[in-house]
Assembly symmetry: C2
Homo-oligomer: 346 residues x 2
Amino acid sequence: MTTRMAREIAEQPETVRRTLAALTERRGDIRSLAAGRRRVLFAARGSSDNAAVYGRYLLETHAGVPGSLASPSVATHYRSRLDLTDTLVVCVSQSGATEEIVETQAWARECGAATIAVANVAGSPLVTEADLALVTEAGPEVAVPATKTYLAQLVAMAVLGTALAPDPASLDPELARVAGEVERLLATPVGDAVAALRDASYAVVSGRGLMMGTALETALKLEETCLRPVRGYSYADLRHGPISVVTEGMTALLVAAADGPLLAPLVELAGDLAARGATVVGIGGDASFAGACAVHVAGPDLPEAVAPLGAIVPAQLVVEALARELGLDPDAPRALAKVTRTDPHS
Amino acid sequence: MTTRMAREIAEQPETVRRTLAALTERRGDIRSLAAGRRRVLFAARGSSDNAAVYGRYLLETHAGVPGSLASPSVATHYRSRLDLTDTLVVCVSQSGATEEIVETQAWARECGAATIAVANVAGSPLVTEADLALVTEAGPEVAVPATKTYLAQLVAMAVLGTALAPDPASLDPELARVAGEVERLLATPVGDAVAALRDASYAVVSGRGLMMGTALETALKLEETCLRPVRGYSYADLRHGPISVVTEGMTALLVAAADGPLLAPLVELAGDLAARGATVVGIGGDASFAGACAVHVAGPDLPEAVAPLGAIVPAQLVVEALARELGLDPDAPRALAKVTRTDPHS
């Protein structure tokens, strides 16, 4: 039986094509709205937050624009007054109805920010109340774990990050190849990776820089969908201390781009984790990265700046297959609802 | 036998008094350096990063100044050029010698930022190269887990956060009470909390807002010192998904201030986690919070804005006692060195 999650994963080439077509033409509007603003502040939660992590790195590394992630409680609970007249605030929510993000967007406007909403539902509160809305074209998502809506958010982040770069079209040839790469990656064999995670006493996921959001999203999906306590770390944070918990019986899942300044250190990390007894599963990277991993899963043939748009696909396949292998229903993990409330009764 | 970690924990009343005395008089210098700057960007790693999380919340909730946390790889690996002429960059490192933070500070200056170093070692590279140095007065720390140097960093964050507030002296009466509260909390009984963590199949730590850094630091210490895979979450992030992994046999450690807008939701979270079968251990909060926890450890009698300066003490006592109970050496956890390098061979 094919799960809904599997079907939604398979719809992603179409999601990428439609979303890219719909949003690329908004670059001029994004630039106009951002005129005179010096920085971008993202507000999001969960998978949307992981998409924002990519958006922030792309802005800082590709567009040269400082980005940061908001702490929603400053808006929703402390109701602080900050001067955001120099800031473009980007709120990301699949449903466009996550209450704390809608509230954070309203707060940002009161603080003087220009606002962009990234959501998959036209007519949602986040979309109707923003200065500019980037509505992704993933179509309705029924399975609880976000897959195609997450990838659609990454496309929106890529459009945003390139819109604010000196040459907004400079990554267009690479972006045009994403849908094809996603299509190709749908056939990635993941059996060995699933087995390594199934048999693990504990798992960590690591990556860094532009791939950091991919590591966090993979960890979150393993945790939510496979009910495994899993931690996503920047490899720098992992090395700084928590690496001491890495021992025999643990599986470390590393996500890497095929190029970029963080590939070589990640190859080295793979070797160090293996030396501590961990089973290292790698997604992406190059031949030397594959050689340093006990189990390797192919990643996209895309440059680092857009690699997250492909690399999440094999990770999704691993999560979906592992959930089934564990006898769980990937479509409806226990205790999760599609529209989340972080303060359910307040 | 008393461990060095225990002795350094016990030195903290003196650490607080000395650091507060040394840094409070720098508020004028901080204000002068910050003049014309619109925001604060923190760069740090590990425990220092957790101190910076508190600094960021205090700035946003108390001083009304936007804060954010840097991604060091943007400086050290991508070498991006960002316009930071509107930014005060605060680099935090116990040793003042953590290479990537020293490098990030140099990058920030090249990008036009004003720089403040927070370090415990006068004459360290971070201190000598900053526009302004806040040298904490913890004295040499020998045990690998940061305790008194972390609390000294929190004091520095409190001085910074109040220096940039409209009335820099408004929290002075509360800050003057911190050393006494730390002294009092050194005698906190933690045996029941240690037992609950010792017997746990898995542990999560949660808090939010001004206490978020305390939750992250407690999780990091449990992980590094007790070699337990532990995850620190904002309670909002926990509710958004990972709460699905909370089951029987798990221990949830919650840290709360005795007042503030996040106390009531945290009491509610304690009840929800207990209903899922977790053993809930609470540190701090009020009587209703204590009532919602299976095990309760007293926290400081301090308002939320400075509560983290007291609340870390019982958490440190729990970590130190748990390590000994597990037969580990709290002074020298495996695989950790005092000055960390996140890219050891590059």
